[in-house]
Subunit: 179 residues, 2 copies
């Protein structure tokens, strides 16, 4: 970030009064720019004993499998975003049960929310964001071809919790460039 998006003046990095972190500051129009984590919201869609995964058509991790999820947009709730992403990536309509995982991915400044969701019918299809969409039973999950460790965690929790019959919220913090 080099220039003020309000007046095009060059920015300087400094600590504003009554703040304690460096921010980008415009001395011309006195705007202060704050950079905050972004929310990723999505679903873990379940149909009978299977879960729905999407094969990514776009980078990062193109060709790897993931749960339908993406950046939350302005003017929507976290649940609306999760439903929207599930429809955009998998052409699937789901019913949300409850928030299932909350992961702070500290090294990339993201907070990922995954909702447990149910599909009434096995209806889904690839989209321009997904090369393929499939239902997988536990024994067929492509564990070595999952796109992100957060997705692997969510699936591990799900199959573990299914044996116990309870799906409590799982809260995780990841903080490493290897995650």
């Amino acid at each position: 970030m080099k220039f003020c998006s309000n007046c095009a003046n060059p920015l300087r990095l400094g600590i504003p009064d009554e703040d304690n972190l460096p921010r980008h500051i415009c001395d011309n129009c006195e705007t202060i720019y704050y950079h905050n984590p972004k929310v990723i919201t999505g679903c873990l869609p379940v149909y009978q004993d299977k879960v729905l995964l999407c094969k990514r058509a776009i980078e990062p991790r193109k060709g790897y499998w993931t749960l339908p999820a993406g950046f939350m947009e302005n003017n929507e709730s976290t649940m609306e975003g999760a439903l929207r992403e599930t429809y955009e990536e998998a052409n699937a309509h789901v019913e949300i049960s409850h928030l299932y995982t909350l992961t702070s991915i500290v090294h990339v400044n993201q907070v990922q929310l995954i909702y447990l969701a149910h599909m009434e019918k096995p209806e889904y299809a690839p989209s321009n964001e997904s090369l393929d969409v499939q239902l997988f039973s536990e024994k067929d999950i492509p564990w070595d071809e999952l796109a992100f460790s957060t997705i692997k965690n969510a699936l591990n929790f799900y199959f573990e919790d299914r044996r116990l019959g309870k799906f409590p919220l799982r809260e995780i913090t990841l903080n490493s460039n290897n995650d």
Copy 2:
């Protein structure tokens, strides 16, 4: 947002390829700007039968009571942010129990997380963000002087749940300029 913060070129509003929402686009350096909701994270600190509230020293809602909470920063988890805000606003150290409320405040593009937390000792003090900090029992809560409806909701849930002895995650969507 009028100018590219990377190259100072004027921006145009347009829908990028394979997108479906208008974004600010720089045709000079080909940067696309996405605007996403921000996360507010904080605590509902409990000491014995009382909860800790802060009287806001800054706008908006200066002079009104609130729970310690604020914008999540980069390079921290949601829980770390909640603990940081509780210390910055109330000079209180708390122990987090679990995520208690998740509110999508759609009309201001915020997601607010409030963690239920416990104080081992009644130690707290005002800060440059809080004019006053006090423990309140249920009958003394200043209901008419609370800063935000999200805070009123969290306190109502807490006292209701305390009678039942269970504190499940409450998920709320607010979408009105009156909330």
